[in-house]
Amino acid sequence: MRPAYLTGVSLWSPGYGDLAAFVAGVEDPTVIDCAAPWVPARLGRGSSRLTRMLGEVAARACEGAAVDPKTVATLYASSYGEIETMVVLLQAIFEGDGQLSPMRFKNSVHNAAGGLGSIGTGNQAFSTALAAAERSLEAGLLEAMALLSERGGEAVVAVADDRLPAPLSAQCAREGLAVGLCVQSARPEGGALAVLDGLRMDRDAVPFTPTFAGRVLDPGRAANPAAAALPLLEAVRAGQEAWVPLAFDVPRPWALRVRPDLVP
């Protein structure tokens, strides 16, 4: 496994327009949706907020890394994916006339963010969409590290889930959260946020500690699979060398070794 460099990070959640706001812990109730610059407005009609969340954090992570959105490999990971759109379609089938909106049906696929983003940016490079419940971040980073090990280049991992619509929210209460991580095989000229130079599987489950930036996370965000990325963001912010778990409260989680990029 070749080492990789973390070169861009991003976050979006309702009330927090970016990572800096989330770190500061200052909630803005007017932040209820995101721009998602990769998703063209025309095509974005009928898309879910999750699609925009994934597009938003992927774009912002690449901006931070100065990576070209037209060539970066894109990996989108989510547990329940486009479930908001799915419920709209189920409503039409079971409570409506059975006629489904073609636009909504097209945007109900788990790879909606990847498809719309590729069209919006003209990106014909590698793209995938993953689903792994609590292991969604783990799946995204395993895929990204293996991809970079094979072919080099740059990749962005976007992991997100949004709150669930009724009636399914009765079984899963979570608040929307999206995290973007831009990784690349070559060390950038100005240095990286961190070096990622080890992957291992640990034997025992690691309990999730619902804290970030010195404060306790609300239960809705703590229950979001994307919250698994917060310890990684903490380690990078702290400039610590650490093995950071990529999934919590599951057997045999994978961990990623993160260390500061100290090469001048």
């Binding site: 496994m1 060539t71 547990s79 329940y80 994916g81 799915m86 419920v87 379609l89 189920l90 039409a92 089938i93 079971f94 059975g98 006629q99 489904l100 909106s101 073609p102 049906f105 097209k106 945007n107 109900s108 696929v109 788990h110 790879n111 909606a112 990847g114 498809g115 719309l116 590729s118 069209i119 940016t121 003209g122 990106n123 014909q124 490079a125 590698f126 793209s127 995938t128 969409a129 993953l130 689903a131 792994a132 419940a133 292991r135 799946a139 395993l142 590290m145 293996a146 090990s149 094979e150 072919r151 080099g152 669930l164 009636p167 399914l168 079984q171 899963c172 599987m201 057997p251 045999r252």
Partner: protein
């Protein structure tokens, strides 16, 4: 009909660097679908040129659709899950378990050989347990509550099926799902190959599972691409797809006894339209070119193409342009969707099994439903089994393309020089 000689073209996007792709032995495989509930039954039906497609009212009356179409439903009833796993109960899970039966001894051997944590399980699906969610939603719409038996996490969640299958055979390595619509279970082969090459695992059970659901059928009907009759891939006057259900699995190992290998995989993105292919088949061609490059093959090495061939006017024309431009018109091109219907998230894995079977038997399936051919389709579509026996089959390309412009091509066959 004469066409220019095929030429390898460098794709516009930079191709992956790295070491050459070592062929990966395919040491076990299975498929269940409308052709049968065992791999033997499925492949016997394929060899016999027998379609599994039937009107939905006969094949799957519980769908109770208000429009005409044919579907590919797995015949008979599927056994319930073992009691310890009853919380995962849904048709998707039963299909997956059915396919697991035929590869189970080989997977358990691989787990013993490599170690449980050194074997991955990667699945593709587009529906997940949507059939269970539909039933639960119908209950909620009727009486305002979700059924007690419904579990979002253990039935609807895509990951549930992967966890269920991993638990049956003791796999403890990376376990997750790819869901890129109809390319899902083609792309799992690429992911597994990367995990093996990166040294993270030594083997991977890969595959795809999808079940018939009201939402997919209503959705494709709304798009106007669901055929009211039996689908006709590459045929004149073709009018759309039939949806099918099924599951297929393959065991890939770093080393192992196998006569057929995964030789390479190509992936590309159209970046064109969410539901329509780029009209000239640009992305399709790039996926095929990348598969050939990774496999170290030239276009003249290809003996057969298992096409995506959904039987929509647009897909088949674009794909045939891509194939003709890359391979010319000598290679037999067949879409097996005339047998099974479009298995969506299970299509790539199912057709990989059919590609492997073509290599093992030296036979290309008859192109069911394709006669009379669309004169605009300028590839060689063999309309009878006799024509298909004309040349040995050593290397096959298997295409899968998806909503969102996600394309994948698998190169499957016998490694080494011709």
């Amino acid at each position: 009909m004469v066409h220019p000689a095929p030429q390898a073209r460098r794709p516009e996007a930079p191709l992956p660097a790295g070491p050459p792709f070592a062929p990966i032995p395919i040491t076990a495989y299975s498929a269940v679908n409308a052709l049968g509930d065992s791999t033997d039954a499925v492949l016997a039906a394929l060899d016999a040129g027998r379609s599994g497609l039937a009107p939905h009212g006969l094949a799957s009356p519980s769908l109770s659709l208000a429009f005409d179409t044919f579907v590919g439903a797995l015949p008979g009833s599927l056994p319930p899950l073992p009691p310890a796993f009853s919380a995962y109960e849904c048709r998707l899970a039963r299909l997956g378990m059915c396919a697991l039966g035929d590869v189970r001894p080989a997977v358990e051997r691989a787990v013993g050989r490599w170690g449980a944590t050194r074997v991955a399980l990667l699945l593709g699906t587009s529906t997940g347990g949507l059939d269970a969610t539909e039933a639960a939603y119908a209950g909620w719409a009727t009486d305002g509550r979700l059924p007690d038996s419904f579990s979002l996490r253990k039935q609807h969640d895509f990951q549930a099926l992967a966890e269920l299958l991993a638990a049956q055979v003791g796999i403890e390595g990376p376990c997750y799902v790819l869901s890129t619509a109809c390319s899902s279970s083609g792309k799992v082969h690429a992911s597994a190959a990367r995990l093996i090459r990166a040294g993270l695992v030594d083997a991977a059970l890969v595959g795809g599972v999808d079940s018939l659901c009201k939402m997919t059928l209503h959705g494709f009907h709304g798009l106007g691409i669901l055929s009211p009759t039996r689908c006709r891939p590459f045929g004149a006057g073709r009018d759309g797809i039939n949806i099918g259900e099924g599951a297929a699995l393959m065991l890939l190992e770093r080393e192992g006894d196998a006569d057929v290998h995964l030789l390479g995989v190509g992936e590309s993105s159209d970046a064109y339209n969410m539901s329509s292919p780029e009209p000239e088949g640009r992305g399709a061609r790039e996926a095929m070119e990348r598969a050939l490059l990774q496999a170290g093959l030239s276009p003249s090495d290809v003996d057969h193409v298992n096409a995506h061939g959904t039987a929509t006017p647009q897909n088949d024309l674009a794909e045939s342009k891509a194939i003709a431009a890359l391979l010319g018109d000598r290679v037999p091109v067949v879409s097996t969707k005339g047998y099974t219907g479009h298995l969506l998230g299970a299509a790539g894995a199912t057709e990989a099994v059919f590609a492997l079977h073509a290599v093992r038997t030296g036979r290309v399936p008859e192109a069911l439903g394709s006669a009379p051919l669309d004169p605009e389709v300028r590839v060689h579509v063999p309309l009878d089994a006799a024509a298909a026996l004309a040349r040995p089959i050593r290397r096959v390309l298997s295409n899968s393309f998806a909503f969102g412009g996600s394309n994948v091509c698998l190169a499957i066959g016998v490694p080494g020089a011709r």
